[in-house]
Subunit: 359 residues, 5 copies
């Protein structure tokens, strides 16, 4: 199914269901795939990493300062999600949003937890398409739960830093871990922008050399990708902004300072997107002008050739007539004079077009 429908297709299935009914709206997987739950527990000194089968195995959490990061890959598994909802007292509406992979990025402060839902982007080089994946963060005291749509290693860099003893990440709390995740996710946006920038470059360079109808398709394709990127990046600004302005105890003042940096990055992403949008508009205008120009060129060729030869063809037609009494035909000067006239006509046409700068 195509991108346009991908994000809205199954919402209608939920009409009339009670609010807070958790229904997974994303791409369906094979039935057998179960969500994969991994846990990392760490503080400045200790570190443990393991995989568990169900949410119940996670309790009780170790007391502070040990931070627990639970990562759930595969939100399509509604059963596991329901378990998490019960075990960690997640709000049913939030659970619904986490499952609904068409969710607009948002940030909610419910009870003593912060829910952040974001999009992570990847770039499929083969199909030149952006792949979106929804990432949900639930930040509690001393605890971070993350939900991803698919098993992937986008966040592996963070895990590596956690495993290394002595990194700053190990010494800070769960809020700093959440910030680091946000930072990585927003930084990935630049990756997609770079790919887009490269495509823009290619299109622009290609304009001069040839104008296959392919150009049109690529301009349209990249415009579509930009529209979707924009749709999901725009609300991220609000999300990070409301995190910054919040006065919750879950976020330490130092982390909020760092969040300002993420905020700046999202603004820069938006700026760049706007710039690309303008550039693409310019490229499209240029392309259309080139088309018009080319049309003019074609018409000029046709017109020059036609207007030179049509009168000549008429002249030769005249002396191809079979009238009995045509005095010119009998004159020995008829033929050479006709040539002279024709050369004169053609010559004056050429001069006329030259003056009009047509060739």
């Amino acid at each position: 199914m195509s991108r346009v429908l991908k994000h809205t297709a199954k919402r209608s299935e939920k009409i009339g269901l009670p609010p807070g009914t958790p229904v997974y709206l994303g791409r369906k997987k094979g039935e057998t795939t179960r969500a994969c739950i991994t846990v990392m527990e760490y503080d400045g000194e200790l570190f443990s990493e393991r995989e568990v089968a169900s949410a119940a195995d996670l309790l009780p959490l170790k007391p502070a300062p040990t931070v627990t990061w639970i990562n759930v890959d595969g939100v399509h598994d509604e059963g596991v999600l329901a378990e998490f909802g019960e075990t960690f007292h997640l709000h049913p509406l939030m659970l619904e949003d986490i499952l609904n992979t068409d969710q607009r990025p948002k940030c909610e402060f419910v009870e003593n937890m912060i829910y952040v839902i974001l999009k992570m982007f990847d770039f499929d080089a083969a199909r030149e398409e952006i792949i979106t994946e929804q990432v949900s963060l639930v930040l509690g005291p001393n605890l971070l739960i993350t939900f991803q749509e698919e098993v992937g290693d986008e966040l592996e860099a963070i895990r590596v830093r956690l495993r290394n003893n002595g990194t700053r990440l190990r010494k800070e709390g769960a809020d700093y871990l959440a910030y680091t995740l946000l930072d990585v996710i927003v930084d990935r946006y630049f990756l997609v922008l770079e790919k887009m920038g490269e495509s823009l470059e290619e299109i622009e360079l290609g304009l001069a050399s040839q104008t296959s109808s392919n150009t049109l398709g690529r301009i349209h394709h990249i415009k579509r990708e930009m529209i979707f990127l924009r749709k999901y990046v725009w609300p991220v600004r609000e999300v990070v902004g409301s995190l910054q302005r919040s006065d919750t105890e879950l976020l330490q003042p130092r982390t909020i300072t760092y969040l300002r940096d993420v905020y700046d990055h999202t603004i820069q992403v938006m700026d760049t997107l706007e710039t690309y949008r303008d550039l693409l508009g310019g490229i499209q205008d240029l392309y259309l002008s080139i088309l018009s120009n080319r049309m003019n060129e074609i018409m000029k060729v046709l017109t020059v050739i036609s207007t030179i030869f049509i009168p000549l063809t008429f002249i030769v037609g005249v002396y191809g007539m079979n009238f009995k009494y045509m005095p010119e035909l009998d004159s020995p000067w008829g033929y050479p004079l006709t040539w002279l006239v024709m050369i004169a006509v053609a010559g004056s046409m050429v001069v006329y077009f030259r003056r009009k700068n047509w060739f």
Copy 2:
């Protein structure tokens, strides 16, 4: 009558009438159809459902915690509406708005009642048109009155949930019922969006294969539908927003939390509409470029054929002349040489056009 006029045609009939005169402005029905009034009374344990003939039969309402939901199908029946106005002390201006089926979605807090007027959308697959129906909600203490334009079963899912003992809906008050209605109505918007998304897909796929003038019509048609959808969805945001911010006792804090969810959904509907708008703009640009490109192709064919054959036709014309003294005609090499010249001319033309990349 067409859509453009449907919504404004009869407003002018009211000029000069005193304000608050309830006049039905919607599609006129057969005179004999009377509004259909159904009542549901329920609390956690009890439940009754019946149909009544007039507003007066509804009094007295059962005391709390029993919730009374009165649904009126058919607001064209001005008499019944007037009865309701008297019986439940509805504000005359609000009654007028309920009857005026061209009303902009709005929300008013008058005395101890909340009036909400919304549009419900349906999609007529046959004519590919959005069908709008106005739904008005009057929320009083322990009481919800809903007015619909036509008898329909869009809200049947809610009735089913009410009939089932033990659902959350049965345990909560009238405000939660109103929220559930809002939620269902806004969720239906996604249905229309999906249909639009499908149409966009079809148009986009059709662009490549053929460009019948039909494409134009469909693009224009879907644009029109989007303009109207936008007109009625945009104010819904304000409506839900002002419900959320209100400090009336009619809405419990918990319900307001749920309303935030509806608010998010309306924003998502608007976002998607904007995205579709941008996409449609892109498709239109692409279509026009394809038209231009096709024109160029046509012109190239014409030009190539013409410019190759016009000079040749001139040459054969020359030797079709009947001059007595044309030495070439008598030469045995005249004819084959003429062919050679013509092949040379045609060949150089072909080389020229090849170099210009014209075919």
Copy 3:
């Protein structure tokens, strides 16, 4: 003079004059026409209606609760206006604005009076043009003065309601009368919108059947009318909004509730205008696409005919040459073979164009 100039042409005459100099800037009438002053005095029980010659005849006003409504038809009569200014202590800048019939709709609270300047619209069906007329309302305690540009019966419906004993209008004060006038004026806007909607319909339906250059003219014409309508309707929102927010004693709380209704109507007018604007934009795009499409059709016909016959004409030209030694000419199969070749050429062209879907 045309509409573009109608509204700005004579402003320049006032440069350098002291502010507050009342100069009539509207369409000049014959000198003999004098402004027509009518007075209605009423309360719940009494009612009198008469015509007076000058402002001085109006004093003293009857005491409350009798409401006095003075209507002046013909603001071009600068003398009468000056009399009114003196008699009722109107502010000179406001008098200037009332006379300046190019005034932007506005609302001013000066001393114990409210000045409201609005545009009333009518539709000249013959010339398909909007006719604007400036209406100024001065609301004082127990008193309403209205100034119209021309004698007309747009407000006759209100007069009828006043003459009838027992209507609500008779029982309420001058502020309610002012509200009723505003309501009637804004409701008239819908009339113009309906006419525009009808024109849009006609244009849209006409697009498919034929595209005379007339379509262009009508699209342009209606766009112009919309631009002007928008110019004068937009500020009305502010006017009604500032009336609503004012805390003057001249407006009773109940009247302010009713004003909210007028406010909603102006927003609805603006919404509909915006929708029409978008629709018109869509129609124009569609029209241009149809033009392009038609051009393509024309070019296809030309190209198909030309490219089929030009090579054939070349072939017959070849055998029209008069060379002595052309073996084909002497062969009995020459003529039929030439026909075969020509049919083959034409046939392959037709197949080529069919495959390219050109006809």
Copy 4:
């Protein structure tokens, strides 16, 4: 030098100079022209008018209630400006702005003075160009200093009113004089708007009759003038607005009431400019559609003529061939039958084009 550069060309000369260095950036005059300083001193009874050579001659100012209005024509004279700076303690940054004739309109409250910098417009009918002149007002207690770029009589009307004993202007303070100047300057904007309106009219009327490439030039020219007008009128709104909101003692409450009138006028100027912009956009669209339509007409003529005659020419070519064995040639019916066939072909073409509504 052209308008684009006129306003920015010499800014770069100042890079690196200390701020507050007064450098004249406007059009250079002959070196010998010295600024012309005129003084008017007046109160309700007294009035004197004289010309002085230098700023020092102006001190001491007469005490209140005598108002002193000093007008400096020719700000290019940097020496005189420096004198004024010293004599009246003008702020160096403000002096710099007064000299910089590319200054954006602005209003500053520095110490006990108000600095207002505005643009005055004139219309050069011959070259159809707007002429901008910068006017700076410095309002002190009992004192108004105005700086103009060139000697002109735009403000002569005000001087005349001042010379007349008994006008309101004579009785009021310096703030009222400043208001009067602002009023005259803003009223002059309407003059330029009228000229533009006339040009728009002419262009629009010209569209129907002929489409010389001149139309393009005029549309572009007027668009340019509008862009520049807009650039300098837009900030005037802020200027007047901040004067109104200021709580300085230099402006009396009554004057502020009058300023509201100027504010309304600037908004009306902006409204009219926006309207003209929209109108011009409409005219341009109409022009492009007319071009397209005309192209279609041309193509139709070419296509009709070509497609009728090309097949006929082929037919006559066929019987111009010189094959020995062409039975048709010997038949006595050959010639008339050929004519019949040709008439049939041409006739069916004509019918086809008629049905397609091509002529």
Copy 5:
């Protein structure tokens, strides 16, 4: 690498690195180039200027009122930057931003320092391209550190003024020096605007004379430059605005007054950019209209020539037929009458086209 990528290309290298890791993202230089550090220490009387090798050599700073200005040319040298971070306790996130030469202009108040990051523009006349260079200012008590990307003399004018005893710059504090730098940087923007204005002029003048496809390229090129300029100038407004509104002790009230001037300049730059944008849009429209017009001209020539000669060629073709029985051929009036008919046909065509105003 091209401009599109220049600014975003290497961001992705940083994904997953801890925040505050200083990585230089700009154009890589040869490895051997080390950053060049120059120090100026001055007060009203003393002045010293020297070059140092490392940050440590700079301590201890001289006490107030001596102002220390440290300029670092070459931020690519990550080692030197790290030294500065340690020596002057710069915030790691700010250091990161200084190194990241794709940073959006911004202003941060961290602890007792103000960080300002701006773009400086230069114009490469040969390649007609804007060259951006990032300049970072760190303002501490009595101290200003500036970081530039490359060694350049853009700020030389300020150094000259510092070296001169007695200038105001020497007498004021570090905040005034920072203001002067801002002023010079913003004033340089006008330089780029002037160059752009000149290009706009040239393009506009060139439109009338000839329309090489070069015009398209230049319009597109300048549009691109404007998009980038806009991207980096727009946030400068915020930067200067937040400096003005700050209540830090680092900025003296007098300096804030001067900053208002810089603020006005940035607004003027934005205004001019907007104006240029509008102008460029107008030029592009004009160019496209000229293209369309030219196409019409070409088509007219083709159509006139074709429609005049095609019927004539048909006529001469008719009498080139070889039918035995063609009575016209034997008549002595055949030939001259044919000429008369042809002249009549051609003449009526000419009259027809003349009336249609085609030539």
